[in-house]
């Protein structure tokens, strides 16, 4: 049987509807691209629906040159089972030899990778995935629909400690066994898989592009994936020293499927070198010529790298720093205390002092205006005097609070700005700054602390990951039945307009319950020497190694 090519047929009706929304100004172009490609419309066709030409892949027309080594600073972390990954850095190393079913592009579209195409039915409860043909694992095995089903089964296994993928595929999980419902995933033939969800889910393919969704071989059974690096990707791990460096080299014995489809890979070797969390150490490395590109450039360092003559690339994101309370720990179990502390802080001031105004002011509900379902609410009230009065009324007038943060420059500066405003309101607060090695051991449990959250393509995705009761990364310990119910409802509405009404409720609950002080949305930056091409910063820190190349040295 020939593989189905759904994208050759008429586009999904919802995509046409969304195109109408864009023309009516109710949906941004970026979000339209995300949503249309998530529904199985090829990105070129998606641009076409808007009456636009698809942009050329790279901004510069220069032809990539094969060969060369690219060195980048990155915290090199210990690898573990992909579905339990909690750091983009882990994924970025393993991306060398592990591919994904789909890939999130910097412009907001989803690019088919190990899937050739996908198609959803009208209410997004049934998905047909077409598996790319001619893909082989680097041990010679062919990549088939069986592999897709195997990985879905792994992702849906909620009994595995720390498996964050299970929450993303709730529509395939049997709540009784906490594992995949076998009847939900049907292998139609070697090239086609059909998913039948228990509830509509608009983010199925977007979730398959998230970084813990690396596709592993059937022989993989937990542990360090670099120990026996069987994958479909073009590179192999050569050095894997945690905290020191990780090196990827081209696999000479493996013909990568993507060369014919997307082009590349160009580089012979990619070295990730660990300089810890101190950005000054990275700057010293850049000035010493030890690295060619930064993983990320933050805060005041942006100007310094600019002055070095390094090229800057920028990604607009829904990433943020959530200064959150842990509601399980007193005194933050009191809603009044949380609301009062929120009220003392002006988010615009935090953005200016903490991130040099390189971003957008946010409204304490973790839904970004660039998300399609964002509902505009009245801005949060800032009233230091009322904040102080509310704390006294709650019996915490003399309590000294403690705000813990990482020693990373912008996170520390942001928390300093938050604490300074709380202090200005006449409330006692102490700041504790911890090095990364100590901080991350306990990030979920600090009573009052700050965590950086990467963006996700849809607003409901972050809420599902971080604020749903009892999920693995719920660091606020927020548990609210009304919120959970509304979130489930929102997660099943494909139409952004219709979803917005529910989102407004969700956002208001988050504000009213005083869950987080979420001051701003970040723009992300990367600097690289002018020789580095195709390695622009990505909104969710993804490294697409096959796009990277280096201009030959003069």
């Amino acid at each position: 049987m020939t593989p189905r090519r759904p994208s050759a047929r008429a586009p999904h009706p919802a995509a046409l509807m969304h195109a109408g929304e864009v023309r009516a100004g109710r949906l941004s172009r970026r979000e339209f691209l995300t949503r249309a490609t998530a529904l199985g419309v090829a990105s070129g066709a998606a641009y076409g629906l808007l009456g636009l030409e698809a942009p050329a892949g790279a901004q510069d027309a220069a032809t990539p040159v094969p060969g060369g080594t690219l060195r980048m600073n990155m915290e090199t972390r210990a690898l573990k089972d992909p579905r339990t990954w909690d750091w983009s850095e882990i994924a970025n190393f393993a991306r060398g030899w592990l591919d994904y079913l789909a890939e999130y592009q910097a412009d907001g579209t989803l690019r088919p990778m190990l899937l050739e195409s996908w198609e959803a039915n009208a209410d997004a409860t049934e998905w047909v995935l077409s598996v790319r043909q001619g893909v082989t694992w680097n041990n010679g095995d062919p990549f088939t629909a069986e592999d897709v089903a195997h990985n879905l089964r792994r992702w849906c296994d909620g009994t595995v400690e720390g498996n964050s993928m299970a929450a993303r595929f709730a529509g395939l999980v049997d709540p009784a066994t906490n594992r995949m419902r076998e009847e939900a995933v049907e292998i139609l033939d070697a090239a086609t898989v059909r998913l039948r969800l228990s509830a509509p889910d608009i983010a199925v393919v977007a979730n398959m592009a998230d970084y813990p969704a690396a596709v592993v071989h059937r022989s993989y059974d937990g542990g360090d994936p670099a120990a026996s690096p069987i994958g479909t990707g073009p590179y192999l791990p050569e050095v894997n020293e945690v905290g020191v460096r990780q090196v990827l080299v081209r696999n000479p014995d493996h013909a990568w499927w993507g060369t014919a489809v997307h082009g590349g890979p160009w580089l012979d070797r990619i070295e990730y070198i660990d300089y810890g969390t101190d950005p000054a150490a990275v700057l010293a490395a850049a000035e010493s010529g030890e690295i060619d590109a930064t993983y990320q450039t933050n805060g005041d360092f942006i100007d310094i790298y600019d002055s070095l003559g390094w090229a800057k690339s920028e990604a607009i994101t829904a990433s943020t720093l959530a200064v959150r309370f842990n509601q399980r720990q007193p005194p933050y179990d009191s809603r009044e205390v949380r609301r009062a502390l929120q009220m003392a802080v002006d988010n615009a001031v935090v953005l200016e002092l903490g991130y040099s105004d390189r971003g957008l002011v946010a409204e304490n509900h973790h839904v970004c205006p660039i998300h399609p379902e964002y509902a505009e609410l009245p801005p949060p009230v800032v009233d230091p005097a009322a904040a102080r009065a509310a704390l006294e009324a709650a019996g915490h007038g003399a309590t000294e609070f403690e705000l813990v943060s990482l020693d990373d420059s912008f996170q520390a500066a942001t928390c300093d700005a938050v604490a300074a405003q709380i202090r200005d309101a006449g409330i006692a607060i102490r700041r504790t700054v911890l090095p990364g090695s100590t901080f991350w051991n306990d990030w979920l449990n600090y009573p009052f602390s700050a965590t950086q959250w990467a963006m996700r393509p849809l607003g409901v995705q972050t809420l599902n990951l971080a604020y749903k009761s009892g999920v693995a990364w719920n660091e606020t310990a927020f548990a609210n039945a009304e919120f959970d119910a509304a979130l489930a409802e929102a997660s099943s509405i494909t139409d952004a307009e219709a979803r917005r009404a529910v989102m407004a409720r969700l956002q208001r609950i988050l504000q009213d319950e005083g869950v987080v002080i979420q001051p701003y949305w970040l723009a992300l930056y990367r600097h690289a020497t002018p020789r580095v091409r195709g390695a622009e910063q990505h909104p969710i820190y993804e490294h697409h190694h096959y796009k990277w190349w280096m201009e030959p040295a003069n």
Binding site: A78, W137, N138, N139, E161, G162, H217, R218, S219, Y220, D221, G222, G223, D224, A227, S228, P229, I230, L236, E241, V242, G243, V244, I273, Y275, G276, A281, A284, A285, E287, S288, G289, E290, I304, S307, L308, P435, S437, T438, N441, D442, W443, L444, N445, A472
Partner: protein
């Protein structure tokens, strides 16, 4: 001589046991163990789960028993994991057999070859501690402590070798030049330099050197402010600043001691006799004064080595040079018990060995000193 060596060896063992026990006790305080359980088994687990995890992983038994296991004088613990599989201290894979298996080894090398698997319970040795050559497993680096410490020591040895190459000759030269004419202008100038460098700790001089010679701030950029690439390929550009930072600090002190010894020797009657004999000043200094003046500095250099290890901790962290000092910082920051213990053992051995070497060298340089006779 032999008796002295044996006595020194005894002191070394005693100190190593005492120190490692203190480190063991501190790293095994209940809050530290709880932190380990949370970072290993998930930060959201409850108090009861923490206790369960500690029990399952062998942290539940008395401190002294576990210390004995770590030393290798008591049999390692054995228990069951969540799935009922046997697990224990000695069941961990030794050198990570199978970890190098490439893709060509295929599916058949699957689950059994992972780093978690070790010898079969029946074949595993009963004891596996320091005495058996098993240093334990580093949680931070996900590797054998032995390998991590060896890697760190290798890098640090390279750094220290260059430090000594720079520090010893320059310090002796400075001291001899200053001490041969006590009170002269040269003496005052050189002594001033020596006091200044000895009084500037590494965390000050390192930062100042980087700011002046390696940053765009001054535009000098002669050297690198990062020594990460020196681990593989040390060059003048990437290794000068870390070496200089440590060497300068040690140099001042050694130079002051050399100067004092030199000045004292220069006033001795036999020097006056040599001068009266008509020898040139140069010959007097080189052939008569130098050997006697070098006895004290030799001891000081040897005793300085443990102090320089302090500097190594600071300099390696500052310059991101992944040697022994950096390893210590990472281990301490993450409460990596086995790694911290390994680092402690090595530190004690280094300190006591250099002291022993200084005693022996002292006797060789000065025939009036006899070792081991009361």
């Amino acid at each position: 001589m032999l008796r002295l060596l044996l006595r020194r060896l005894g002191v070394l063992l005693g100190a190593a046991v005492a120190l490692t026990f203190v480190v063991f006790w501190l790293t095994n305080l209940p809050p530290n163990l709880e932190r380990i359980a949370r970072s290993e088994a998930g930060t959201r687990i409850s108090e009861a789960e923490v206790a369960g995890w500690l029990e399952r992983n062998g942290y539940g038994r008395p401190l002294l028993v576990r210390y004995g296991e770590w030393l290798g004088v008591l049999p390692g613990w054995v228990g069951m994991d969540g799935d009922g599989n046997p697990r224990g201290r000695c069941l961990r894979a030794g050198d990570g057999a199978g970890r190098d298996a490439g893709p060509e080894s295929g599916p058949e090398s699957g689950p059994e070859s992972g780093p978690e698997s070790g010898p079969e319970p029946a074949e595993a040795p009963a004891r596996c501690g320091l005495l058996q050559g098993d240093w334990g497993w580093s949680r931070v680096f996900q590797a054998e402590v032995r390998d991590v410490v060896a890697r760190g020591l290798g890098h640090t040895a390279k750094l220290m070798a260059w430090v000594l190459v720079v520090m010893v000759p320059s310090a002796l030269l400075l001291g001899v030049l200053a001490g041969m004419r006590e009170g002269s202008g040269l003496d005052r100038a050189l002594s001033g330099v020596a006091v200044l460098t000895a009084a500037t700790p590494e965390y000050v001089s390192g930062v100042v050197l980087v700011a002046v010679f390696a940053s765009s701030a001054t535009g000098l950029r002669w050297f690198n402010g990062s020594a990460t690439s020196a681990m593989e390929d040390a060059t003048l550009a990437n290794f000068t600043l870390p070496v200089l930072t440590i060497a300068l600090y040690g140099m001042g002190y050694v130079a002051r001691m050399t100067r004092a010894a030199m000045a004292e020797v220069m006033t001795a009657p036999y020097i006056r006799a040599a001068r009266l004999k008509g020898l040139s000043f140069r010959q007097v200094v080189l052939r008569h004064a130098l050997r006697n003046a070098l006895i004290a500095p030799f001891t000081v250099v040897m005793l300085q080595i443990p102090w320089l290890l302090n500097g190594v901790v600071i300099v390696e962290t500052l310059f991101n040079y992944k040697g022994f000092g950096w390893t210590l910082v990472e281990a301490a920051g993450n409460n990596d018990i086995d790694l911290l213990l390994g680092v402690s053992v090595v530190s004690v051995v280094v300190v006591l060995l250099t002291q022993m070497a200084s005693d022996l060298g002292y006797a060789l340089l000065n025939p009036r000193i006899r070792l081991g006779r009361g």
